[in-house]
């Protein structure tokens, strides 16, 4: 009897202890109300009952095929039992650990609501451990956040002022400055930023005045505003404004801004444990790309008269972001990523050249950003990234297309295999390059016949020769178009041919 009672007491203690440690009632506090919600603590992580919180906020929760959907204030977020990422609109909500289910009831890490309610209610959410309170308060938005980016796009100095919310302002022209005078309080992560730009010397913020100091008094500016996300854009150019898109030759007195193709970054695809595609006989893409890139760098350095840099010189891992960052840091004028292709179609053959497509990947991101900014908390960092992406796209997509075309023409001429053409795709390694950039696929390693070729020194040299001609051809074409070199007088027999053909330099 005693034993039985002792056992019962022990079980009761265990149950009680487990409950005390594992669950309880927390307070959900909003600026206007309080409510009780169930919470659970496991391994130091606080989970709250998603349904309790949703109901307390006037929302709903419903299961779906892969998890649950919570709707609050008309905004729906989803989460599943296996993922520590929830989703709201097109954004992810990061949680420290995945949600859990207790007796069929979903419990989410409290951080889920931190991410979700910022979107749904413009609320900041915090867990106050001492009082077991999930506290909601309006997101702090006492001042409009300002971020500035400057880029020289085809000879036009463009400054983009990204705002975290729409603002009232006026623009005042001074002899050597433009002042954007905000009526709202504004804040920026800088007091003064200096730029090595032909037109913009510095940007400073004092009070509500954002001062754009110009390098000379003969610089004219055009200002316009963009919405969703809110931006103020000013374009500056020297003297009378030429038609948009007209190349503006830079003065010889500014050698650091001298145009032309002076630095080329060659990117051997993959490396290290990231072997890339593997041929049927074991040839690795990373080895072929490195071999071709090394030869190409040597050939370009001796024939094109530009500084040539490789993103990797050995069998090392370099992340995709690092590759373009590397090119940007070197202020490269041209970026070429060398790859070897693979396809499910076993007899696929030939080369193809890609340049970045934004329309497939970015259109929706832009729309999502617009929606987000219209209806909820803006994200200045994301907005700025979008703007910089836009700028890079506008500035370089045309040149990248020309560069890719030049490559493909030379590859076709050299290999005499099926022309797979110039294509656009959202290749990660091309994203963020602030110069004309292309990715060439020199052949299909998945095709045994081409795998044998790709391994041979003779074929690699043929590819290198073609790529060298392509770079030289593009360089001559570009430098002719911007007036750096004079176009060759067309010979009578080739009067209709492009000038670049006449000035092409064979290696």
């Amino acid at each position: 009897m005693k034993r039985l009672l002792a056992l019962g007491a022990l079980v009761a203690l265990i149950v009680t202890a487990a409950l005390a440690q594992a669950s309880g009632q927390a307070t959900l506090r909003t600026p206007t109300s309080t409510a009780s919600v169930t919470y659970v603590e496991q391994s130091g992580q606080v989970y709250v009952a998603a349904g309790d919180v949703a109901t307390a906020l006037g929302g709903t929760i419903a299961p779906d095929s892969s998890g649950f959907k919570v709707t609050v204030n008309g905004v729906t977020a989803g989460f599943g039992p296996d993922s520590r990422y929830g989703v709201v609109r097109d954004d992810l909500i990061e949680m420290p650990v995945p949600p859990i289910s207790i007796e069929g009831k979903p419990f989410v890490p409290w951080q889920f609501f931190h991410g979700f309610l910022a979107k749904a209610m413009s609320m900041d959410v915090a867990w106050e451990a001492a009082t077991h309170t999930l506290a909601l308060r309006p997101a702090q938005r006492d001042a409009i956040s300002v971020q500035v980016s400057v880029a020289n796009v085809q000879g036009i100095s463009k400054i983009v002022i990204a705002l975290s919310a729409p603002a009232e302002y006026s623009i005042v022209k001074e002899p050597t400055a433009y002042v954007v005078r905000f009526k709202n309080p504004v804040r920026a992560p800088f007091t003064e930023e200096r730029y090595e730009d032909p037109a913009i010397a510095s940007v400073s913020l004092a009070g509500g005045d954002l001062r754009i100091q110009l390098t000379a008094n003969d610089i004219v500016g055009d200002a316009y505003r963009l919405e969703n996300p809110p931006r103020i854009v000013l374009d500056f150019r020297k003297g009378a404004a030429p038609p948009p898109g007209t190349p503006v030759p830079l003065k010889p007195s500014a050698p650091q801004e001298a145009p032309g193709i002076r630095t080329i970054v060659i990117d051997p695809g993959h490396g290290g444990r990231e072997v890339g595609a593997v041929g049927p006989n074991g040839l690795l893409e990373k080895d072929v790309t490195l071999a071709i890139a090394r030869k190409l760098a040597a050939a370009l350095a001796s024939t094109v008269g530009a500084r040539v840099v490789l993103t990797r010189e050995d069998d090392s891992v370099v992340s995709l972001d690092q590759r373009t960052a590397f090119a940007n840091q070197y202020k490269a004028d041209l970026f070429l990523s060398v790859h070897v292709n693979a396809a499910a179609v076993k007899n696929a053959k030939g080369s193809e050249t890609y340049y970045l497509s934004l329309e497939a990947s970015d259109e929706l991101a832009r729309k999502a950003a617009e929606t987000e900014n219209v209806t909820s908390t803006p994200n200045p960092t994301a907005d700025l990234n979008l703007i910089l992406w836009d700028l890079a796209h506008q500035a370089y997509v045309t040149e990248s297309s020309r560069f890719a075309q030049s490559i493909q023409e030379e590859m076709n001429a050299a290999t005499a295999v099926a022309n797979r053409g110039v294509k656009q795709a959202p290749f990660k390694v091309l994203v963020g390059a602030t110069m004309p950039a292309a990715l060439v696929e020199v052949g299909f390693i998945s095709n045994p016949e081409e795998e044998t070729k790709l391994k041979s020194d003779e074929f690699q040299t043929m590819m290198v020769d073609a790529l060298t001609r392509a770079v030289q051809k593009y360089k001559t074409d570009y430098e002719t178009r911007i007036g750096l070199i004079q176009p060759a007088a067309p010979a009578p027999a080739t009067a209709t041919a492009p000038a670049t053909t006449a000035t092409r330099t064979e290696p």
Binding site: L4, V15, S66, G78, E103, L364, V429
Partner: protein
Amino acid sequence: MKRAVVALAALSLIAGACKRKPETPANLNAANKVAMRMVRLYYESPAMLLAAETRNVALPESSAAAVPVVVRELLQGPATPVALRLYPADTVVRATYLLPGGTVIVDLGGPTLTQGWGTGSHQELMAVYSLVQTVTANFPEAKSVRLLVNGTPAETLGGHVSVTKSLLPMPSLVDPRFR
């Protein structure tokens, strides 16, 4: 003995009171009408473009419930001999979400994608867009697809195509007869 029985009964009552009443969510799959429906699955054709293979699949009426079924069907590979499988055979669909606004989140996993898929640009491009094309072609409310790997955002599936943003269909990759 009576005391023992009473004590156990009391303990049982306490435990029962402490235990939350199960709140099993309604099963949407059961609530939905499941019927054989024709779906279009996009695989690579010998012309190296995406071409649709039609197949009858038992699908729930709800699109949210049907999306993972269709994606899993796609990953099983083509039935027609000339069409080509694009994803590694060990790829799995961990979860999908059909969000308001038309974004479909597809969370993929499996040993190959986890350890690093060694493939070429073309195959990766076709694989990514076969999934995008299949989802958007079969579900009118689906406008774009966002891919995750093992529940987390990935840069690429195999080192080439950026999947850091939602992807819209790319008609240039689809055989004109199947657009």
